[in-house]
């Protein structure tokens, strides 16, 4: 597959075109935080400032709240109406390699044994346009998890910022398809290709934060009973759900009904293992204590998920480190486990 390129000042035109028959999401900071917002036709200057979103792209496929079904009570009793997402194609532009990997990780979970129609419908209708990182944050540690800031096999189409232009490379058929529909592209030279590669390599070098995953599974297992360790590392945690909600792979949810017996919706919403209520049963709660919940979170990501799906459910995006109000740092915690 060959490389194409587009001038950054052409992006706006491209976006306007693309958004005609599909929903296009691009990084935007207009709401006071960076997230993927529907393309508003205004400014495509995110390439100038965008490093990564606060809310990960998972929110587009597994939204914070989504209606699953509607129930209505009529003369003949209850009627159930399935509320699946509409099949409108969707393009997400600017997904970083770490987040693209995260989507692959949640894909396995949501398609395991029982298919999750809500997530998968959206995923199937979506084309992920990746954007390689030239300027990783100091919280990034994706390289420790076999992710490279400059390249990705997890996207459909990968863009690299080479200055005034974006270099584009189709990674999947979907990407190929999309690429073929884009206008205003030109062929990229080998020089530009290697420039992109070079930028990717230099980005890789900029990442200094890391975790050591070698032998981690065993270390995790043996750390489980180390209550003192978990109590120590959890002491400053505030038990809020920020780390789980900004995590691109956290997928826990709750199912609730709208408070209306006659006509209401059943909704699915994000939930967090950091909340004591998450596992509370009327008579007992296996994870009432904070350290148990913290332990669950890290063990889930680095042990259980790996056992069940052969991959660590962390991509090193660093959001949890960045957004945590008390600076609980996953690399520190995993480092601590390795050092036990």
């Amino acid at each position: 597959m060959g490389y194409k390129k587009i001038k950054k000042d052409q992006l706006k035109t491209l976006f306007n075109e693309l958004s005609k028959d599909c929903s296009l999401f691009v990084p935007s900071g207009s709401k006071g935080y960076v997230g993927f917002d529907p393309w508003d036709g205004n400014s495509a200057d995110f390439t100038e400032w965008y490093r990564n979103t606060t809310i990960p792209p998972k929110a587009l496929f597994f939204p914070p709240v989504e209606a699953m079904l509607r129930f209505r009570k009529g003369e003949a009793g209850y009627e159930i109406e399935e509320l699946l997402p509409n099949g409108r194609p969707q393009i997400v532009f600017g997904v970083r390699p770490c987040d693209a990997r995260a989507l692959k990780i949640t894909d396995t979970l949501f398609s395991d044994t029982y298919r999750d129609p809500y997530y998968l419908t959206r995923r199937e209708n979506a084309t992920i346009v990746g954007l390689a990182c030239n300027e990783p944050c100091d919280t990034c540690f994706c390289t420790s998890l076999d992710i490279s800031p400059g390249e990705s096999q997890d996207v459909d189409l990968l863009c690299s910022d080479i200055g005034d232009e974006l270099l584009m490379e189709a990674v999947s058929d979907k990407g190929e398809d999309l690429l073929s529909k884009m206008s205003g592209l030109s062929e990229a030279s080998g020089e530009e290709e290697s420039k992109a590669k070079q930028l990717g390599d230099s980005a890789k070098e900029k990442i200094t934060r890391q975790i050591d995953t070698s032998g981690l599974l065993d270390k995790m297992r043996s750390s489980f009973e180390n209550r003192e360790y978990w109590e120590d590392v959890s002491r400053k945690c505030m038990s809020c759900g920020i780390c789980t909600y900004v995590c691109p792979t956290c997928h826990c949810f709750d199912i609730c009904d709208e408070n209306n017996k006659k006509d209401g919706k059943r909704v699915r919403n994000w939930d967090s293992c950091k909340f004591p209520l998450f596992t509370r049963m009327p008579m007992e709660n296996p994870r009432h204590e904070k350290w148990r919940r913290i332990r669950q979170r890290y063990h889930h990501k680095f042990e259980y998920f790996q056992m069940n799906f052969e991959t660590i459910a962390c991509t090193g995006c660093g959001r949890c480190i960045r957004e945590c109000p008390v600076n609980v740092d996953v690399t520190e915690i995993i480092g601590g486990i390795q050092a036990l």
């Binding site: 944050c137 400053k236 408070n259 994000w270 109000p325 740092d329």
Partner: protein
């Protein structure tokens, strides 16, 4: 200052006068500090005091079992006193290290000021009235007052009111109330519909991570009202209606307890200007009942008592 703290904190731990020291340590992210909570003497080497100690640590003694030595700034000390009023901590269980505070750097503001993200800054130090930074290898100097949190402009008690040991000399308030209330005044200038729409838009962003609640030292309930499901006052999922209702009720619950430490707003990952609600209530409670938060640890909480002469003009 730092050395004195390390020394005194070490003594407290060694002599068994406290079970934990709660202070600030260096964070793992550029410029940031992080709560340092420890019962081990060797960890105390990591204690720092600098213009980046944003966290309000007063919440921790509520959770920790035992006696605690704690580092507080002016606003934190008033949160702590408020917690004493609410009987969540006992004064005699605390050894308080007061840090006279000239303001804490708002890293978002700082990023805006230097036009680059914080991880570009390699070194930052307060020198007199200025903050000296190394940005991408070059030195930059910006006025300190330009990069501190908005709350700091409205801080009437920068020196902790309740302490056992003051680290440094008292700091006189350097008030710029107008600047501190800028956003509130702006909102007050709008008409009702505009204001409502403003908040509606803000709370459409809310994802219910409960960061605001969980960092708030005034939110000390064992079970938050949103977690009550019989009846389900507020839906557990994030709709702007329920998000707003949740925050309004939370605002009422912390009114009279909120010391305007600004932690809720700092914690919010989606940038909802929560201080504009909380600070507003600080003003209202003061105006209505003459109550200032965290001044008198022996006074009853503001909504646990009343005066026969409380304002009444809004009643028909």
């Amino acid at each position: 200052m730092e050395n004195r703290l390390k020394e005194e904190a070490g003594k407290l731990l060694k002599e068994g006068k406290v079970d934990y020291i709660v202070g600030y340590g260096k964070g793992t992210v550029n410029l940031r500090t992080s709560p340092l909570i420890t019962n081990k003497e060797e960890d105390l080497e990591g204690l720092v005091i600098n213009p980046f100690i944003a966290n309000n640590l007063s919440r921790y003694p509520v959770e920790l079992k035992g006696r605690v030595g704690i580092v507080v700034k002016g606003c934190d000390s008033r949160s702590l006193t408020s917690l004493m009023q609410d009987k969540k901590v006992k004064r005699e269980d605390l050894i308080i290290f007061g840090v006279p505070c000239e303001g804490v750097v708002d890293l978002k503001k700082l990023a805006g000021q230097i036009g680059a993200e914080i991880d570009r800054v390699t070194d930052a130090e307060k020198e007199g009235e200025n903050l000296t930074l190394q940005v991408d290898g070059s030195k930059k100097t910006i006025p300190f007052r330009d990069v501190i949190f908005d709350k700091c402009y409205g801080c009437e008690h920068p020196t902790p009111l309740e302490y056992d040991m003051l680290l440094g000399s008292e700091v006189a308030p350097n008030l710029d109330i107008e600047k501190s209330l800028e956003r509130i005044k702006e909102l007050e200038g709008m008409d009702a519909q505009e204001r409502w729409n403003y908040w509606k838009e803000q709370f459409s962003k809310c994802i219910r991570c409960y960061g605001c609640r969980n960092v708030c030292p005034a939110c000390f309930c064992e079970r938050c009202f949103v977690d009550v499901n019989m009846p389900q006052w507020v839906a557990t999922y994030a709709t702007w209606q329920d998000n707003l209702t949740f925050q309004l009720i939370r605002t009422l619950h912390v009114a009279g307890r909120c010391s305007d430490c600004g932690e809720c707003e700092r914690a919010c990952p989606v940038g909802i200007p929560l201080r504009s609600l909380q600070r507003k209530m600080v003003e209202e409670v003061k105006d209505l009942f003459g109550h200032e938060v965290g001044i008198d640890k022996d006074a009853p909480p503001v909504f646990s008592h009343y005066e026969a002469t409380d304002p009444d003009e809004f009643m028909k």
